[in-house]
């Protein structure tokens, strides 16, 4: 019963290797176009999907990955300095996020979890808007329609149903845009994700299920969520599943482009499992040394998604001082702007608490707002009201 048997997983039984730390190794059935050493390898089916990626575009994918790693480091620093309450790092998942998000059109729509800050960057979000939520200044950082991306979902898996419903709407409208939803390996256990796949398959909706299998759901290894390869589950729902090296930006791009094409032409949903690794903690409040082995991290550091593209650029003679300088300057500028945007963010006002609960007036709430404003007015200085210590 329970964990021991699950823990034996596929390995002991001779089944698929699904234990943390072993995914993505050589010889696995993973779509890969760039080796960890930075060598471009050919793939009979997926080469075609990235044939048009020019040297210049490769450089720009590299730039995006460096920039979002920098965003992550800067936000982590802001959290440590007390400017943010919490931050969920994406360190190690840059290729999965950039490779997929850079494949989307502006009229495609993204439904993500809390970790897809790289995707948000690609959608063109103002970085201070990403931070608003983690600073405690708002519960949603942007208007989803301005960047065609819903604000991050914290309830694990809930967004997959939203994406499926949105895709059903696209179908009704006869449009050719696509909804894509991002979630983790842990999320695949939730009912919502499974129900989303049932709906998507039944209606053949244009939705992409993009699972970043980063091997851990806080402290729980992926083998606890799935006894088989996650991508293989999709077949049971009648959805094509593909397992791609999530640390390989070109492979991710190829798989996403294929899925987008299928969806746009009435071919229905695709499930992509991007096999990657969360190199940092779950959030800044987490301590991964309690549950994971340092060796595992080392193994995965050797497959770093950024080092891989650098390797490829180097082999191609494209890694010039000019490129490196330009990328570093961009990362610095973005980090500087984000920090300034964070620190200069205006604080919300007390009565903002009552805003937007309803779109039309509500008598219960109006009364509460009236009473609370009278209460605040009973203090000379509203800021002093209601601290636990009291201000009498």
């Amino acid at each position: 019963m329970f964990t021991d048997e699950l823990g034996q997983g596929g390995n002991a039984a001779g089944g698929p290797d699904n234990s943390a730390g072993h995914h993505g190794g050589a010889g696995e059935d993973l779509v890969q176009l760039i080796t960890p050493g930075g060598e471009r390898v050919s793939h009979p089916q997926y080469d075609a999907w990235v044939r048009d990626v020019s040297d210049e575009q490769l450089g720009s994918l590299y730039e995006d990955m460096v920039v979002i790693r920098r965003i992550d480091t800067e936000a982590t620093a802001l959290q440590r300095q007390g400017e943010l309450g919490l931050w969920p790092p994406l360190l190690g998942q840059e290729a999965s996020q950039i490779g997929s998000a850079r494949s989307l059109r502006d009229d495609d729509f993204v439904f993500s979890s809390y970790r897809e800050n790289g995707v948000a960057y690609c959608r063109g979000v103002d970085l201070a808007d990403i931070l608003k939520v983690w600073r405690g200044n708002a519960s949603a950082g942007w208007d989803p329609y301005t960047i065609n991306m819903a604000t991050p979902q914290i309830i694990i898996g809930a967004q997959t149903l939203h994406a499926t419903g949105y895709a059903m709407g696209i179908q009704n409208d006869g449009a050719d845009s696509v909804a894509i939803t991002y979630f983790g390996d842990g999320a695949t256990s939730e009912g919502d994700v499974n129900e989303a796949m049932v709906f998507a398959a039944s209606f053949q909706s244009p939705v992409i299920f993009f699972c970043q299998n980063n091997h851990w759901a806080i402290s729980e290894p992926v083998r606890l969520q799935s006894h088989i390869r996650i991508a293989d589950r999709a077949a049971g729902f009648g959805i094509p599943g593909i397992r791609v090296d999530g640390n390989d930006v070109l492979a991710v791009m190829a798989a996403t482009r294929e899925a987008l094409e299928r969806a746009r032409h009435g071919g229905g949903p695709t499930f992509i499992e991007a096999v990657t690794y969360r190199m940092g903690p779950h959030t800044t409040a987490d301590d991964p040394t309690r549950y994971r082995d340092a060796n595992e991290l080392e193994d995965w550091a050797a497959k770093d998604p950024i080092a891989r593209v650098r390797g490829l650029l180097e082999r191609k003679g494209l890694l010039t001082d000019e490129l490196e300088g330009r990328v570093a300057a961009k990362a610095d500028a973005v980090a500087r702007d984000m920090r300034a945007g964070c620190i200069n963010m205006p604080d919300p006002q007390p009565l903002d608490i009552f805003k937007h609960v309803y779109s039309t007036p509500n008598s219960w709430l109006d009364r509460q707002e009236d009473h609370y404003s009278r209460y605040l007015a009973s203090f000379g200085d509203p800021a002093a009201a209601n601290s636990e210590e009291g201000a009498r």
Binding site: M1, F2, T3, D4, G7, G85, L86, Y114, V133, W134, R135, G136, N137, A138, S139, I154, I155, I156, G186, A187, S189, E190, G191, D192, A217, I218, S219, E220, L224, Q225, A285, R290, Y291, D347, P348, P350, D352, I353, F354, V357, N362, W364, L365, Q368, E369, H371, Y372, R374, Y375, A377, S378, F379, A385, N386, S387, E388, E389, G390, A391, R392
Partner: protein, 336 residues
């Protein structure tokens, strides 16, 4: 007596239950190796093994539904819901299955399941991490609902909850996890004050102030501050939210003639409404003023920069005490 934190006191209570009854099983996300995100189950898997302290897949309905099956089989599952806001995927299993099975089977099937829910705000978390969903469960027949406010109670009540043959929702005030207090681990939970009883925390004669969970400490502080102004406040820790120990409340209100109740959850349809109505029914002729509710607003739990406005603090409670006493207050001059 040992000084320990709230979290440690629950941990020690869980440990005792695991030791005393081989049918007790802990289940939840991240409760094993990590010891839970709040470390409440720290070290328990190491000592009792993976079959008794189970890291489950990430699926709340799945956790609750399998706990139902285990209870059918004679186990006493203790489920951890990681945060209040994540209990909703499990809601159907709790209200349709856990709460009703005993009734539906005319007593044949017992559901001695304890659901531990870290709840409430004040820790600066993002959305879905600071909710007070207790009224959904107090409204559901078949469930017992408790909330503890200090390490000693946390320690004994968790054992009583696990020993109860009824399902118990055990709400842990997460902003008090690190508060320390004296805990006597030798107290026998079977003879200690029953989890169904409220407790008078601070005696007083002018106003009865009812609180539970995280706000008991705030209420005590408010009583101290009121005493400085010559007002004597009797603070009652409700402890059991379903059923409410009205006898203790009645006795107090008959003495003071005034009632203030405070909770973090929104006001409308909240537990404060139930207490106010029931006390009005029972003590109408002893009341000198209408009962006063000091609660969170009827808004989704706000982002952290505003949570101190939403949460009843000491001053807002004192303003409510003033209202109950007919002293000048922020609503003076308003009718109704």
């Amino acid at each position: 007596m040992t000084q320990m934190t709230f979290a440690r006191a629950i941990n020690s209570g869980l440990r005792k239950s695991l030791e005393n009854d081989p049918k007790v099983i802990l289940m939840g996300e991240d409760i094993g190796t990590l010891g839970g995100v709040f470390r409440v189950t720290d070290g328990l898997q190491k000592d009792f093994g993976k079959h008794r302290v189970v890291d489950t897949p990430l699926a709340e309905s799945g956790i609750m539904g399998t706990a139902v099956g285990l209870a059918y089989r004679g186990y006493r599952p203790v489920v951890e819901i990681q945060f209040d806001g994540f209990i909703y995927p499990a809601f159907d299993q709790i209200v349709s299955q856990v709460a009703k099975l005993h009734y539906r089977t005319q007593g044949a099937v017992k559901m001695p399941i304890t659901v531990r829910v870290p709840f409430g705000g004040g820790i600066g978390s993002p959305e879905h991490h600071s909710e007070s969903p207790e009224a959904y469960f107090t409204h559901t027949s078949g469930l017992r609902v408790v909330s503890v406010s200090n390490p000693q109670d946390a320690h004994t009540v968790i054992q009583q909850a696990i020993a109860s043959d009824d399902p118990v929702l055990y709400f842990e005030p997460k902003r008090r996890y690190h508060d320390k207090g004296e805990v006597d681990e030798s107290i026998d939970p079977a003879t200690a004050l029953s989890m169904e009883k409220a407790r008078v925390v601070t005696e007083g004669k002018d106003v009865t102030l009812v609180a539970y969970g995280p706000l008991v400490k705030t209420a005590k502080d408010a009583a101290l501050a009121a005493a400085d102004e010559g007002v004597s406040v009797e603070v009652i820790d409700l402890r059991s939210l379903a059923p409410v120990d009205f006898a203790t409340l009645e006795a107090s209100v008959r003495k003071t003639g005034r009632l203030v109740i405070t909770h973090e959850a929104g006001q409308s349809g909240g537990l404060g409404a139930e207490v106010a109505a029931s006390i009005t029914e029972r003590c109408f002729y002893h009341l000198e003023a209408a009962p006063v509710r000091i609660t969170g607003f009827d808004v989704p739990y706000p982002y952290s920069k505003l949570e101190m406005h939403h949460l009843p603090g000491l001053d807002r409670i004192l303003d409510g005490v003033d209202r109950a006493l007919g002293r000048p207050n922020s609503l003076s001059g308003l009718e109704g």
